[in-house]
């Protein structure tokens, strides 16, 4: 019997290699325990045991690890088991054939007695316990448990009888080392957990390891190049029997009657000429026309027809009237312009008779151009504007019906040289005081232009202004940081004394507790040559460019270019006191004005006009004229309307009752507007500009709120010359007369009368 003998042989070898005491039993242990059921059964009690034993160090996670370890171990053991079997069989057959490893014993080929054919006869398997290694007793029956449980114990488990299986003697590390050195088979042995000792690997196992390392199939018996076995194909294996036993149908061999009929139909049609064989389908398609417009047209609106080209005019005639023929310059100009820019695409030509007319060279190009227009040019429908341009001009009353207004120049008063920057007309309308840039201030009569007196200030004069009071008579001249109060000569005695009393009172009013930077000083001697009173503005405030009197003549305001506080000062005559109304002003102040009837104050900065209430000291309104740089401003005597002029030629009319935006914006001067003024009594206003002209308007303001103010341009007055880009610098109306006084950069002052 080969099998028992082989196991015995192996046992013998094992016994030789291991300790003699356990040699018989120990190798069997690992090989024996590994049927699946056993493993499961073994595994479960183990886990129960674990729980029961309550190893404090091991938590649940480690449990599972343990379990998985255990399972792996089981699997390992499974493999091992198979290996063992292999090894066993191999060793069984290994004796007979070296290297060729077979699981089963080799079959013998004998000749059968019955059939006489060759047959394979396998050796019988003896079904006793010794025949299979799996049935061998393993000395240690603890199963697949972590063997470190037995680390502290002298034994490694229990035999089937419940006796302890003692640990084999193991030397220390030095012994182990010596063993590996001494034992030549040490490198082919592996540690067996169950028996706690090294176990040499069999040659089969080593072969498997070698194959795995070489990435080969671990099964040595596997042949990847086995010859194919033809089971179902090949010669002699064809299907012979039919699937259906029905007889072959007639249609398989009789020609179709219906096909014949169809073919015959076509043949007949061809014979009769109804069908033309190989008729060219497209080339013969001469367009067939029919009554396409007989059906109802669709409800869709037809597309807009293309615009028709312009019809030819007389100039296109072959024999046009001679005046149409171009001159040489016109011909040249036409030839020089680009084709697209030409007003017409041909030059008129004249031929004596029709037979002389040549072909038109551009004919095809022009047809092509028309076609390009048709499909490439966007079309826009534009309503044709058929209106008389003169109907656009507003209908205004004739200026003749709005007389009186100044229409001609009545006299001229000339300063020697220097631009006349400012003029002022006395409140009784008899005198004009004019000041030029040389510092000469002249007083002259409006009616005849006779100069009565001349003052030389010695420095540039920024502004002159009469006091509007009629019981006193004096005017203020603004020079560098100074305001001078001058009394005209030849005053009636009563007026003169009143004026002197006002300007140089014998008892000065009590000084205010707060000291002011503005100093009021009276001159020592009272004469008409020297200013009777001077007001010294704070340092570096520059030349005041405007003096604005309050209508009652007690207050007046000055504007200069000074930084901070806006350079605006309000002076009070009766208390000889000056104050700056604004702590801080946004933007540089250009002009100021007192409201004619209310305690209100207009301040024009570069772009905006602000209206303040002086009594309540607050901002009422900000007007936005939309002018880049405001140059001039005046308020209507009614106090409800304001005109603002700018250096950008615009004039804005504000209705203060309405919006903050202008009611009307006009632009008629060709250069910057310099000055504006409403007439105090007549419905007139005038504007002067750097283009040297003065425009007089009729401006009627109605009391009811419904009617818009009527503004009619009346007259353009020209008489000033433009010098160095400056024209008429200031215009002033003569009170009580529709007369205008204008000062220009040409150092002339003109009076315009009606």
């Amino acid at each position: 019997m080969p099998v028992p003998s082989s196991s015995k042989k192996r046992k013998q070898t094992a016994a030789q290699e291991t300790d003699s005491s356990d040699a018989d039993e120990l190798p069997q242990v690992g090989l024996d325990m590994l049927s699946d059921e056993e493993a499961e059964e073994d595994g479960l009690p183990h886990s129960d045991e674990e729980q029961v034993d309550e190893f404090p160090e091991i938590d649940a996670a480690s449990d599972s690890e343990e379990d998985s370890d255990a399972l792996e171990a089981e699997e390992d053991e499974d493999e091992e088991d198979e290996d063992e079997e292999d090894e066993e069989d191999g060793s069984g057959s290994g004796s007979s054939s070296e290297g060729d490893l077979h699981i089963f014993p080799r079959a013998k080929t004998i000749i059968s007695d019955i059939t006489g054919q060759e047959k394979k006869v396998y050796p019988d398997i003896e079904p006793d316990y010794d025949s299979d290694s799996s049935t061998e007793d393993a000395p240690n029956r603890v199963g697949n448990i972590p063997m470190h449980w037995y680390d502290d114990l002298p034994h490694v488990g229990y035999s089937i009888d419940g006796k302890k299986v003692l640990k084999p003697a193991r030397g220390d590390e030095l012994d182990k080392f010596l063993q590996t050195v001494e034992d030549p088979t040490a490198w082919t042995s592996a540690f067996d957990k169950n028996t706690q000792m090294d176990k040499p690997l069999t040659s089969e196992e080593l072969d498997i390891i070698r194959r795995l390392q070489a990435h080969e199939n671990p099964d040595a018996a596997y042949n990847p190049y086995e010859p194919t076995v033809e089971w179902f194909t090949g010669k002699g294996k064809e299907e012979i029997m039919p699937l259906s036993s029905a007889p072959e149908p007639k249609r398989r061999w009789v020609p179709s009657k219906w096909e014949k009929q169809k073919v015959m139909k076509i043949v007949r049609a061809i014979r009769q000429g109804r069908i033309l064989p190989s008729k060219p389908k497209t080339t013969s398609a001469q367009q067939q026309f029919y009554a396409i417009w007989n059906e109802e047209p669709s409800a869709h609106a037809p597309p807009l027809p293309a615009p028709k080209p312009r019809l030819p005019t007389h100039a296109e005639s072959y024999n046009p009237p001679e005046e149409y023929l171009p001159t040489d310059e016109e011909r040249k100009a036409w030839e020089d312009t680009e084709k697209e820019d030409r007003e017409r695409d041909y030059l008129p030509q004249k031929y004596g008779s029709l037979r002389l007319v040549p072909a038109y060279g551009q004919f095809i190009q022009q047809r092509f151009g028309r076609q390009l227009d048709l499909y490439l040019a966007p079309r826009i429908q534009r309503p044709k504007l058929n209106i008389d341009p003169d109907s656009l001009v507003p209908k205004l009353p004739s200026p003749n019906s709005l007389r009186p207004f100044p229409s001609y120049r009545s006299l001229r008063f000339s300063h020697t040289k220097g631009r006349v920057r400012s003029i002022s007309v006395s409140p009784d309308g008899a005198w004009v005081v004019s000041a030029d840039e040389q510092g000469i201030v002249s007083l002259w009569e409006v009616i005849i232009g006779r100069e009565v007196k001349r003052w030389t200030m010695g420095e540039k004069v920024g502004a002159v202004e009469w006091c509007p009071r009629t019981d006193v008579s004096f005017f203020v001249v603004a020079t560098e940081e100074m305001l001078h109060f001058l009394i005209p000569p030849n005053l009636p005695h009563a007026v003169l004394t009143a004026t002197q009393l006002l300007l140089a009172p014998p008892t000065l009013p009590p000084a205010l507790p707060v000291p002011s930077p503005v100093k009021w000083t009276n001159s020592s001697a009272i004469s008409s040559e020297k200013p009777i009173l001077s007001v010294e503005l704070p340092k570096s405030s520059g030349v005041p460019k405007q003096i604005a009197w309050h209508r009652k003549g007690d207050y007046f305001a000055t504007v200069s270019n000074a930084e901070g506080q806006g350079g605006v000062w309000i002076h009070q005559m009766s208390r000889r006191h000056s104050q700056a109304p604004f702590r801080k002003v946004k933007g540089s102040v250009q002009l100021v004005l007192f409201h004619p009837s209310k305690p209100q104050f207009f301040v024009a900065t570069q772009r905006y006009v602000r209206l303040y209430n002086l009594a309540e000291q607050k901002l009422l309104k900000t007007l936005m004229p939309g002018i880049r740089w405001i140059s001039s401003m005046d308020v209507h005597p009614s106090g409800d309307h304001l005109i603002v002029g700018g250096y950008d030629r615009k004039l804005c009319w504000f209705d203060l009752e309405l919006s903050e935006k202008p009611y009307k914006i006009m632009r008629y001067h060709s250069r910057a507007i310099r000055s504006l003024q409403f007439h105090p009594t007549y419905p007139l206003f005038a504007s002067s500009s750097d283009d040297g002209s003065i425009q007089v308007f009729h401006a009627r303001v109605y009391n009811d709120l419904m009617t818009d103010p009527l503004i009619v341009p009346l007259k353009i007055l020209r008489g000033h010359e433009v010098q160095e880009g400056l024209g008429v610098l200031q215009v002033k109306w003569v009170p009580k007369q529709p007369w205008l006084v204008s000062a220009g950069a040409d150092s002339n002052v003109l009076v315009w009368c009606h």
Binding site: S278, K281, T282, T283, A285, Q287, F289, Y290, I292, W293, S298, P302, P303, A306, L311, P312, T313, H314, E316, S317, Y318, N319, P321, E322, E323, Y324, Q349, Y351, G352, S353, L354, R355, Y360, F363, I364, Q365, R367, F368, R370, Q371, L372, L374, Y375, A377, P378, R379, L385, I387, P389, V393, P394, K395, L396, S398, P399, M666, Y668, V712, P713, L714
Partner: protein, 621 residues
């Protein structure tokens, strides 16, 4: 809060599509897109804001309506164009492989698109179509006169000339022609068909060649559409007029260059016969078939018998239609029973036909003969559409109804200078005396005037009066005919004044005149100044009479300027009160007004100068 609006999802961005986007959307080539646009009549649009339509980009592009493009996307022609692309590939492959038979069968089954549906779509009613045939006619007449090249096949030219002839036949038959204008570009004709004025331009008969800077493909695409359109329009016009369409072509006459006369106008009552003749004619074309010969022989016999060797069918038609027209004019049957009612209620038809009837028979009492240097196609068409009869020498083509020595000829249209004829027989002289020799412009001017003009200014060899456009100019433009009378008197007055000084002084006098006039103008104000000026003039040696005249003139001028000035000044001041928008509009209007006035003034001035020069020449010569 409403739904959020995404940019580019509504409004102009959605309504417009750029051309490249359109091409991409239609998945066709740019050439195909162009073709589709031409055929469907789709043209670019100008969005109100290009930036909004182009998703913020202001690049120069052309925009189309997105709906237009979506509409083309379902066009059968587009499908055919795609099929044609596939066909071209197949054919190229077959040719490349040398598979001639398959290439031939492919070629035979080439996809071809039809434009019938497009015609119906673009012109839902017949009147729409008639309104839009101007360009079509211009193109047809142009291509009828082109030589055939590789790009312009002969069949196309032939078809165009056939269509042109058909149109002329129809216009002649219905006497629809209204105005003619001989311009430097060609001859403009204007006809009234279906109450629509149709104007077309025919180039003079010279061989034209398509220049290199013209894209022939575009022209041919347009021509494709126009041929179809005109075919349908003519079909409708002919059938409405009771004629057969297409009119059968007489091949023999065509060969003899009979032009328009080669076509037979046939009443549709004779339709079966016409069909039969047509079929035989088609078969016959080159060969000789006895049936046709017989028929022609009979025709010829009939023509000679009626002693009217005109294009027989045409004459028959004219004779049959004209009496009908005449009858129709008198037709108002109720007039016999209720004369006043009929008189008070003229129908629309009679109203429209009234001027037509007068003008259509304008030349009916004349018999013309064309001299060989005049253009036969133009004058045959003109004369026959106004009811006249016309003959021409054999050199101008066959089919002339009568010879030069026919006694009925009243006018000879001749366009060459007068020459002496020393060897003239009496008979010829007699004939010359009886006939009137007029230049071609007489016919055209008479047609435009609506009445036969006197022949005197147009006789042979005379310098012609100017030929004016019957279409006129825009309103308010310079009118050369009206201006003559006024100018004459003015010039007369002027010359009267200047004659005192003598003509030769004219040049240097002008400068002197100015200074004196200036003085006089200054003086015109008051008496003392006048006296001073008078003294000055005397010192300068100007006699009193001329001084008086100048003073009067300058006074008048001053008054005029003053009168003109005062309202001008007013207005210029009132203009201050205009709003900016109004002022801009006003300036624009005034600009054009001034420009036109300047143009008119220039022309008038030039005319005056010309007349002056002419008079001077007359005086000298």
């Amino acid at each position: 809060m409403g739904r959020l609006r995404q940019k580019g999802k509504a409004g102009a961005a959605k309504a417009y599509i750029t051309r490249s986007m359109a091409v991409k959307k239609l998945q066709c080539s740019l050439a195909d897109f162009r073709r589709l646009c031409i055929l469907k009549g789709i043209f670019p649009r100008e969005p109100r804001s290009r930036k909004k339509a182009n998703k913020g980009s202001s690049a120069p592009t052309s925009f189309y309506y997105t709906k237009d493009i979506a509409y083309i996307a379902h066009e059968p022609v587009l499908k055919k164009l795609r099929e044609h692309k596939a066909f071209a590939k197949r054919l190229a492959r077959a040719l490349g492989r040398g598979e001639w038979s398959s290439a031939k069968s492919l070629e035979d089954n080439k996809p071809v698109y039809r434009l019938d549906h497009i015609i119906k779509e673009r012109y839902p009613t017949f009147v729409d179509a008639v309104r839009d045939i101007d360009d079509a006619l211009c193109m047809i007449f142009l291509f009828a006169s082109l030589p055939s090249t590789s790009r312009v096949p002969a069949s196309l030219v032939e078809n165009c000339s056939r269509l042109a002839a058909e149109w002329q036949l129809y216009v002649m038959h219905t006497h629809a022609l209204r105005k003619v204008f001989l311009s430097i570009k060609g001859v403009y004709y204007q006809a009234e068909v279906m109450d629509q004025t149709v104007t077309w331009l025919v180039p003079y008969q010279f061989t034209q060649n398509i220049p290199a800077d013209v894209d022939v493909r575009v022209m041919l695409t347009f021509l494709e559409l126009y041929q179809t359109l005109l075919g349908f329009v003519f079909f409708k016009l002919y059938t409405d007029a009771g004629l057969v369409y297409p009119p059968p072509l007489d091949a023999k006459k065509e060969e003899a260059a009979a032009g328009v006369g080669a076509y037979d106008l046939q009443e549709s009552s004779r339709e079966p016969v016409a069909a039969a003749t047509k079929s035989t004619a088609v078969e016959v074309d080159g060969k000789k078939v006895s049936g046709k010969n017989v028929r022609q022989a009979i025709k010829a016999l009939a023509a000679t018998a009626s002693s009217d060797p005109d294009d027989t069918n045409m004459v028959v038609d004219d004779e049959t239609t004209q009496p009908q027209d005449a009858e129709e004019d008198f037709i108002p049957q109720p007039s016999t029973s209720h004369p006043e009612e009929a008189a008070s209620l003229p129908t629309l038809r009679t109203l429209s036909s009234l001027p037509q009837s007068t003008s259509s028979t304008l030349l009916s009492s004349f018999v013309f003969f064309l001299s060989r240097e005049t253009s036969r196609p133009i004058f045959e068409f003109l004369v026959r559409s106004f009811g006249g009869r016309i003959g021409w020498p054999a050199s101008s083509g066959g089919g002339s109804p009568f010879e030069e020595d026919d006694e009925s000829i009243t006018h000879v249209i001749i366009d060459r200078p007068l020459i002496e004829r020393p060897r003239e027989t009496d008979e010829e002289r007699e004939r010359r005396r009886r006939r009137k020799f007029v230049q071609p412009q007489w016919v055209v001017d008479s047609i435009n005037a609506g009445k036969p003009l006197p022949e005197e200014p147009y006789t042979q060899g005379k310098p012609l009066p100017p030929h004016l456009s019957p279409f006129g100019d825009r309103a308010g433009a310079y009118d050369p005919s009206a201006a003559t009378g006024v100018d004459n008197t003015m010039v007369q007055a002027e010359s009267d004044g200047s004659e005192v000084d003598g003509e030769e002084e004219d040049g240097d006098e002008d400068a002197e005149d100015e200074t004196e006039e200036h003085k006089a103008a200054l003086a015109a104000g008051d008496d003392s100044a006048t006296r001073a000026a008078e003294l000055a003039a005397e010192a300068a040696g100007v006699d009193y009479g001329t001084f008086e005249k100048q003073v009067a003139k300058s006074q008048k001028k001053a008054k005029e300027t003053r009168v003109a000035d005062v309202p001008d000044a007013d207005e210029s001041m009132n203009k201050m009160m205009m709003s900016n928008k109004q002022r801009k509009l006003y300036d624009k209007l005034k600009y054009t007004e001034r420009k036109r006035a300047a143009e008119n003034a220039k022309l008038e001035e030039r005319k005056k100068a010309l007349q002056k020069a002419k008079r001077k020449q007359e005086k000298a010569g």
